[in-house]
Symmetry: C2
């Protein structure tokens, strides 16, 4: 059902972009799977396989004999061709009949999510199309794949809301574990056992899902939880998400562990939290269809710099979908490695994180990550934003 829905959406996007057809070309997908495949195929594919969508809404698949039945059963393909010895003949016959003016395939320098075609398979495709005199019709499918992943359907959003709900519940439960002496690893293990108990999977590699950082001078982001123990006066921050029906949440929350007798947040901690909240609100206020991610990143970055904090050394936010990092448009600065991503116009239906970070010397890091949906009117929260920094007290 989802495959049929996404293929129809792809056909509309092809018409919008004036493209002749879109080909996803792959093989041995358990080894080198194109990240678009869950939108096109019901499971792994072994031999050379092509999924061809045209702007008239028709879809054709050419797959190995043993993958035929499963692909047919999706009900999403008007034609399914199979082969035993050679992919070449059914593919050439299909392309000769279609004779498309342009052929969009999944490569992109600027967007990894649109870059699922390997170079070896590109060469094979170029050779096959060369036999038909069509090799010069190859173009990047980046606009098709981006829009298909970025314009979330009601069903996709429902799964993401569920993934957010579970992650938030686990953030609530874990607070009781944040006591002096407890290690980052123990806190992570508690959260992971909650994920398993609920029958869910992790939004990214479990080595760093969650990541947990307690106190000052911790390892940097993307690092596994360590044997470092929580101490009074620590800021404790976690980056975490789960997957529901293939769709991810990606959130960060921060907590403060009281020192003996401490009944309110230290001034520096309070100021850090308030500044970070303002940075998040400033970025969210910029989001609307047609705006650029670079503006949202700048709004948050300015807020931190104006309050005397250092810049965060990463982009403010990314899209979320079937991967924790999904889509092409990015809320990021104009750095070389981000290429054109921060300048792509935002569209309704995109789901972004907003995740600035700052350090409070002697205490640790304040890092909060929210999720928002771009709507016709601006942006709305998908997560329940963290508006208070919990002061966790503990019996001595």
């Amino acid at each position: 059902m989802m495959i049929k829905e996404k293929i129809q959406q792809a056909a509309q996007i092809l018409a919008e972009c004036g493209l002749g057809c879109w080909i996803t070309f792959t093989r041995e997908t358990e080894i080198n799977g194109d990240p678009i495949l869950p939108f096109l195929a019901p499971g792994p594919l072994t031999w050379h396989s092509a999924f061809i969508v045209t702007p008239d809404g028709r879809a054709r698949a050419i797959v190995g004999r043993y993958d035929r039945a499963a692909v047919e059963e999706t009900g999403a393909y008007d034609e399914v061709h199979d082969f035993v010895a050679s992919f070449r003949e059914p593919f050439l016959a299909c392309l000769r009949a279609l004779d498309p003016a342009s052929i969009a395939v999944n490569y992109s320098e600027g967007s990894e999510i649109c870059d699922g075609l390997t170079h070896g398979m590109f060469l094979t495709l170029q050779g096959l199309l060369g036999e038909l005199g069509m090799a010069d019709r190859l173009v990047s499918a980046e606009p098709v794949v981006s829009a298909l992943r970025e314009r979330k359907s009601a069903g996709e959003l429902a799964s993401m809301r569920e993934a957010i709900r579970h992650a938030q519940e686990i953030f609530h439960l874990v607070q009781a574990q944040i006591v002096p002496g407890r290690t980052e690893r123990e806190i992570a293990a508690f959260m992971q056992s909650e994920v398993r108990r609920r029958g869910l999977t992790f939004a990214w590699h479990p080595d760093t899902c969650p990541s947990v950082f307690t106190g000052p001078d911790t390892a940097e982001a993307h690092y596994s939880p360590t044997a470092r123990a929580v101490e009074p006066g620590h800021l404790v921050t976690m980056d975490f998400g789960v997957r529901v029906d293939g769709y991810c949440s990606d959130l960060q929350r921060t907590f403060y562990v009281a020192r003996p007798g401490e009944t309110s947040l230290p001034e520096a901690v309070r100021r850090g939290f308030d500044t970070l909240r303002r940075a998040i609100e400033a970025a969210k206020a910029v989001l609307r269809p047609g705006a650029q991610g670079v503006e949202a990143d700048a709004a948050a970055r300015r807020t931190l710099l104006a309050a005397g904090y250092e810049e965060y050394p990463f982009g403010l936010g990314h899209q979320v979908g079937r991967f924790a990092h999904d889509g092409t448009a990015l809320l990021g600065p104009a750095w070389a490695k981000y290429a054109g991503k921060p300048f792509r116009p935002l569209e309704a239906g995109m789901v972004f994180t907003i995740e600035p970070r700052l350090s409070v010397p002697g205490h640790g890091i304040v890092s909060i990550e929210e999720m928002v949906l771009v709507t016709a009117a601006g942006a709305e929260w998908l997560s329940d934003p963290q508006v208070e920094l919990p002061l966790l007290e503990w019996a001595d």
Copy 2:
């Protein structure tokens, strides 16, 4: 430890092949991971990352700031460079200093396991090397990646032997489940629960690991277990494997379910089983360093044809490693889709499956898959070969 060992092995292979350096170039590896990465990096990488090995045994990594610590801790890299805004500068500095005569990168038309570089990343690399006047030094790393995956170390073989032992034990246990009325799905569920109970993972996608086929006129290979029930007189066959420390087993076993009062195999079933066994032995006898996979496939295929059975519509056997389908050299026929794989000379240290199949009308399929190791002297069994077809009797 494994990373350091594999990098040293890669350096030797580079020297053997006369290549100047080998670059694995990747980004956002949870989206588009190069299948070689477990040999080079301890976990996922987010920003543009390059792993550079030279024939003198030196290894350099260029990774994003947040991936630096984990890569350094492998102890496998002589230099680790990181960046925040742009990959370009540290990469160009490194290549300018190296000035390699040839630059091998991971693409291949003929071998999917050597084809981990996406086309977008190839274009980026070509552009960067073009700035140094080195773009024309790019060549395929297929010989390096193939040999690195195919020449199994003692440690790799030990993991594979464990994976085979577990799969064989589960094949032994499942026999008690093969009784009339039991469905393919129930039999698969039993095997999967055994895998989980042992804390192991599946060698391939759990939709078809195991696959289970009972009786005549079943769905074809690569198809999930169905609600079809075992009946007296059925041949029941399963394709199954587990993963231990990242390494796979991949085996098939066949059983026969007795009819009431039946105390020996029907003649047609017995003849099918014996013919299949002879085909496996004929193929194994061909294996030795320097032989070609196409000869082993032909030996098995001839055995079946000579006995009046149809040819199997696939290759006789593939290599196994970190994936159930691994390596480049293949025991297969000269079909277009297999490109040069069946003609690559075999080497000691390669692990192959041998998996012919035939139909026995009215009963089902006889399908057996063994695993063998190519040695200096020929080939030795890694699996305990199935030399008897069990006649499963049942209380009425």
